[in-house]
């Protein structure tokens, strides 16, 4: 508001007003015409779409949206289905495994790269390139490597170790871990980049003090650097957790959710219900559940960020 009034009646504009009055008169309208549509489109689509899907999740919609409300029936149907139970279980395994493996690998790489390494840039480029490639591409390539008849198992056997077995991808109990591996391979360079930025931003005086005390490099990391960058740990883990909840393409390309439904994830269940079985109501309920999982991760994180802001800049 203050912006608009300042623009229509600044002292200098009055002086030149007679010469281009039509433009001056048109400008405020034009401003609103340009300023609002993109803002409103994004706001309306975020609120409107979320609201609409939530509403559909309470209706009896199947192939097309219906208006008949059925309460929580879709939710209980989804929650009671074997598909969803497996998907949620997998999400927990995948989430825990992927987050831990990615964080640990990322941190290790960051610390190693921080040792005044030659060719640091080349190595960083190598570690991060998977993030630039589609999950469809990496999932496809990993599916070959993990495929027992043409992948790593076959390679090792052809080298002479005939009894070697690495068939996780077709093993119902182990298939989910192949997704953990491929996911960690894709994202650990990203974790590395975040950790490295954090490590490099630690106050140089802290190092000096620790060195004067005679602490060796690993001790400095353990006692000085890592404690100073703990907020980055939380940020990395939250980012990775929300990746796991949204993961779709990787599984689609690597295992297709199989064998059977052994690597089903919530995102695949939503797609399956909506577009393969034509159950929009249930699919929407599953989508809302996905959103709730996401909020369970993000809301505490936002609260944490706010809390840290309020505590002031004392602790980085």
């Amino acid at each position: 508001m203050q912006g608009a009034s300042a623009a229509t009646a600044p002292p200098a504009a009055k002086v030149v007003a007679p010469r281009r009055s039509w433009r001056a008169a048109l400008e405020p309208w034009l401003v609103h015409l340009v300023l609002w549509p993109p803002l409103l489109v994004s706001v309306v689509h975020i609120i409107g779409f979320t609201g609409y899907t939530t509403w559909i999740s309470f209706t009896s919609s199947t192939l097309v949206p219906e208006t008949e409300l059925v309460g929580l029936r879709n939710y209980s149907a989804v929650l009671a289905s074997r598909n969803w139970t497996i998907a949620t279980n997998n999400l927990l395994i995948f989430g825990a495994g992927f987050v831990l493996l990615t964080t640990a690998t990322g941190l290790l790489l960051a610390i190693l790269l921080d040792q005044r390494i030659r060719a640091e840039n080349v190595l960083r480029t190598i570690f991060l390139y998977p993030m630039a490639v589609s999950f469809v591409v990496t999932g496809t390539v990993w599916s070959w490597l993990l495929n027992p008849s043409i992948g790593i198992q076959q390679l090792v056997r052809s080298l002479g170790w005939e009894g070697f077995r690495f068939d996780w991808v077709v093993d119902r109990d182990m298939a989910i871990y192949t997704i953990v591996i491929a996911g960690a391979w894709q994202a650990s360079g990203f974790a590395m980049a975040l950790f490295l930025a954090g490590i490099r931003s630690v106050d140089a005086d802290l190092y000096k003090a620790a060195q004067i005390d005679g602490a060796g490099p690993w001790r400095i990391y353990r006692r000085v650097v890592l404690p100073a960058i703990w907020p980055i740990f939380i940020a990395v883990m939250v980012i990775l957790l929300q990746y796991t909840i949204k993961t779709f393409d990787l599984v689609r390309a690597l295992t297709g959710g199989g064998p059977g439904i052994a690597t089903q994830l919530p995102s695949l269940v939503v797609y399956d219900l909506m577009f393969q079985r034509g159950l929009l109501g249930r699919g929407s309920a599953a989508a809302v559940l996905m959103l709730l999982y996401l909020l369970a991760v993000l809301l505490p994180y936002f609260a944490f960020v706010q809390w840290r802001k309020r505590r002031g800049p004392r602790n980085v």
């Binding site: 949206p65 005044r116 990203f190």
Partner: protein
């Protein structure tokens, strides 16, 4: 920044280098495997494994993958789908970046009542899972008469992308000193003139970040592509999945490797040449 004071006692340099090189190898394996397979024959791969040096160089995999291999019963290779991806990603990237710059400017510098609320809601769009928007988008696309068209994907990626582009630009523009704008306003400059003359000339760094982010994101996107288009209209990520289905029937891993490599090339090149900006986008998009 503290290079000089740190690392006075380098420990086991060799161990450090060895571990880093092992990891580098691990990261590169899938890329090398794909590159090598792309010039191997199907028999070669079938009789050994996907990891191996080519026995005969089958360079014909590339023209086949590009122009004649059958994807979902259309025997034109992946070139039509690459074209689709280009036709989708170029307009969607440009439009969403421009709108994001405009939004970012409106929110951070022009200011109006409720601007923080609007920004907050737009930021939520960054986190909202795509699955929450599938059904509404289906209806909107149908009502616009855009079912199974690339235009639909452009519209979707523009609207979705605005959340990211606005976030990037807004966070960059808040650092522009308000005095600069005050002075411009006193000189009689309005909304458009300030954007054109002051904000845009300061913007190239963030616009590069935004363009790279949007390009990579939209090129690699799969769920919308496979949901809202079918057959000849699909972008290349969706076509790759269709291709892997036909490959499963009659193993042609060499040709598929070539196709995968071609499909990954645009974003890989963008990454190699704009890595710094790519990383900046990743961190800005993730941490905020």
């Amino acid at each position: 920044m503290s290079d000089a004071v740190r690392r006075s006692a380098p420990l086991g340099r060799w161990v450090i280098y060895a571990v880093l090189l092992v990891f580098a190898g691990f990261y590169l394996v899938p890329l090398f495997v794909t590159a090598l397979n792309s010039v191997r024959t199907a028999q070669d791969i079938g009789s050994t494994s996907v990891v191996g040096w080519p026995r005969d160089w089958a360079f014909s995999n590339f023209p086949q993958a590009w122009g004649s291999y059958c994807v979902a019963r259309r025997c034109e290779g992946i070139s039509p789908y690459m074209m689709n991806s280009i036709l989708m990603v170029v307009p969607a990237t440009i439009i969403s970046t421009l709108l994001g710059a405009l939004n970012g400017y409106s929110i951070s510098l022009w200011r109006f009542r409720g601007d923080n609320w609007i920004f907050g809601i737009i930021t939520l769009g960054v986190f909202l899972p795509e699955q929450m928007k599938l059904v509404p988008w289906t209806l909107v696309v149908r009502d616009l008469g855009l079912s199974n068209t690339l235009t639909a994907l452009v519209v979707i990626h523009v609207v979705q992308g605005i959340s990211f582009t606005t976030l990037f630009c807004r966070n960059y523009y808040v650092a522009i000193p308000p005095e600069l704008l005050k002075a411009a306003k006193i000189d009689g400059a309005g909304y458009f003139r300030i954007f054109w003359r002051i904000v845009l000339p300061l913007s190239p760094p963030i616009l590069i970040v935004t363009v790279i982010w949007q390009f990579t994101h939209i090129w690699n996107e799969f769920l919308y592509g496979v949901t809202f288009t079918s057959g000849a209209q699909q972008p290349v990520t969706a076509a790759l999945i269709a291709l892997s289905v036909s490959v499963a029937e009659a193993p042609q891993y060499g040709i598929q490797s070539a196709a995968v490599l071609i499909a990954a090339l645009p974003t890989l090149l963008v990454y190699l040449f704009g890595g710094k900006y790519f990383l900046r986008g990743l961190t800005a998009g993730a941490v905020k």
